[in-house]
Subunit: 407 residues, 2 copies
């Protein structure tokens, strides 16, 4: 029976050439993640041009570069969210972070930068879950350390510029209970052990905390988990911006939602931000290898050094570079530029002058430019983070109504 | 590795002649539960005379009839609780109920009657867990109905006479969260899926809520789950009076406690109260068969009718009864008397005059006497329950310190 379920991805852990789940992202032989295959297997949809045009029309502003450049590339029912929005209904945003490390890297910031844009563009409330319980259970951390990391990460999240009048940040250790716990239990009652093993690949040697956790991540998808925010708004739809490795949680959530009389959450999903050393875009950056990523705590010098060592698709000799152009698919500095450079026309110019033959740019030029761009982002983040006071963290995390959340 | 663990009772569900776990109690071919075998398998200890004498000495009062008559017959570390008590340390009591039915039967009241005695005799605080989440997950009940039943059952529990200055009653749907949730997660992290399957017999078709629940029942064993009651008293020991079918939960709890730096909870465990129709003492009474038990809502007439139909070990003809005496092992009315009759000497008289040859008592006499005793208990309970106001329920369930809990 299990194998007929659309969200069954046990094949990931057995025979397939790529593994994508919340704890592991890897392609065969260190190659590229095949996102088309992933979309097929997961059963989500590609975010096409017409949807992006529709976002532009509905919000009256240019779509975020992460939409224009395909960083967010897949979705589930995002079209329905737009239908509802167009007809005057509102929705809420839900995203989150597992606080496993002190300092975030740029890949961690991507969903938050994008979520901030969605909040501004659609004028909607946002809940941000800090899964300190998850990190306690999966990592070798104490409860206290997980809670501390959650607070530290909250500062980085707040530094992304969220609107405190529309945003509730909570940690699971703080917030699980009451209506939230009731939804956890309702979800758990709908998911058999076999199904959980199928979706998440749990084994008999995994502890039962891991088996409980998917219901914790599911609960914020339902407005009734936040009675202080959404009283009497049980039909309010939820849109979840996240990296596609989180899809298994929400396939499960979407499967159980109708049985609980709830709406399915919609999703808008990003690809993985490549590691500095990887060729192509294999896998996510690793928080445990400091050289694989640019951290928000890196100095300008750190960034320069890291970018200089990053895998390039350009040619060592300028004659080759001029005759062939760089292999942009293998060029990490260019990939970083294509995510973070704001100006579309400059990016197009670099694509031509560096990636095509007879261009005037070489690896060094691109590395210099991306170093400037990233240094600016990191320094801006650092200034913003330094300005986040304890009082601001308290304000974002206070259990309170958000009276102007749709304004 | 699993099979070497002392609390592994998977054999229950496979090859053994009796099954005892929180959801099933049955002996082979409907025969008697072999409690000696159960004690051996579970690894608890028989509660012997010397311990009961010690209770009498330490509390300065006659031990409860449930101790004198062997209703509570097994324990884990109860001797250590007495050692600590003797040296001036205090402890707290923890018991609970799964609120699956509106009205309780007399078997449900046994642990509460006994716990009330322990609270009075040792002058200690008590937490009572109402597992409305468990009943939602195991039974076909809504969350709201489970919560309602929890409140209704709280009235029956309060009617047993607990001291509101020493007693905190809570429902899981109300109380899970914060420090309690942290302990749940800590416990969950220490129990593998294989271990949980071994202890509780869960299968792949069981839902993950069932797998999460043992940690919910474990958490009240640790004083840090109740920061409003036991602040800074992390070493306070816990004594759990319960029926022996709950032992698997606490074997698990005791196994993980040292790994969390917590004390193991001690246990004092009762046998099962026999069903009215059963011969011998097979199994617990069933809440789903109203004729198998005396309910606290039964009228005097109901009780009379039920006792008259109960399985007797006496002889139909008075000549046989006089020559042989009744088979007390099969006599349900006598078993009920031996649990509920207060007066030891009257009980001994009946045992002789009914159970031995040449006695003067017949089945009818015993049934009449037990009907009187049970009617008095049920009517007293009903009066006490009627006197329990909503305010009293609120008072017992309020999250509050208990400043005179050890006085």
């Amino acid at each position: 029976m299990e194998q007929s379920l659309p969200y069954d991805n046990r094949i990931d852990s057995e025979s397939s050439d790529q593994v994508v789940n919340p704890w592991e992202v890897s392609a065969k032989d260190g190659g590229k993640i095949d996102y088309d295959k992933l979309i097929d297997k997961f059963g989500c949809k590609r975010l096409d041009e017409s949807l992006i045009d529709r976002v532009e029309r509905l919000t009256g502003r240019q779509p975020h570069k992460f939409l224009r450049r395909g960083v967010f590339f897949a979705h589930r029912d995002f079209n329905e969210i737009l239908d509802a929005y167009e007809s005057g209904e509102r929705f809420y945003l839900y995203t989150g972070r597992g606080p496993s490390s002190e300092a975030l890297h740029l890949g961690h910031l991507i969903p938050f930068m994008f979520t901030k844009y969605l909040q501004e563009a659609f004028k909607v409330p946002l809940v941000i879950q800090l899964t300190d319980d998850e990190k306690f259970m999966w990592k070798n951390l104490t409860v206290e350390e997980s809670e501390r990391l959650a607070r530290e990460n909250a500062r980085d999240i707040i530094a992304c510029g969220f609107d405190v009048t529309k945003t509730f940040i909570f940690s699971d250790f703080d917030h699980v209970g009451g209506a939230f716990y009731k939804n956890m239990v309702k979800v758990s009652k709908c998911v058999t052990l076999n199904k959980a093993k199928g979706i998440f690949g749990f084994s008999g040697e995994d502890h039962i905390g891991k088996l409980s956790f998917p219901a914790v991540q599911a609960a914020p998808s339902f407005p009734s988990s936040f009675p202080h925010l959404f009283p009497g708004m049980d039909k309010l739809r939820c849109l979840i911006p996240c990296a596609i490795d989180q899809d298994p949680y929400f396939r499960m959530t979407r499967d159980v939602a109708p049985r609980l009389g709830y709406s399915k959450p919609a999703l808008i999903e990003s690809s993985f931000f490549p590691a500095l050393q990887a060729s192509g875009e294999n896998g996510k950056m690793s928080a445990s290898d400091p050289n694989s990523a640019i951290y928000v705590t890196d100095t300008a010098k750190d960034i320069k050094n890291k970018i200089n060592k990053a895998k390039s698709g350009g040619h060592q000799f300028s004659v080759d570079q001029h005759e062939l152009g760089a292999d942009l698919e293998k060029d990490i500095p260019f990939k970083y530029l294509s995510v973070f450079l704001e100006d579309d026309s400059e990016l197009e110019l670099i694509r031509k002058q560096y990636g095509e033959k007879e261009g005037i740019m070489q690896t060094g030029h691109v590395k210099k430019r991306v170093t400037e761009v990233l240094t600016e982002i990191v320094e801006r983040h650092r200034r913003a983070r330094a300005a986040v006071t304890d009082e601001m963290v308290e304000a974002f995390m206070a259990v309170r109504p958000l009276p102007s959340m749709f304004e």
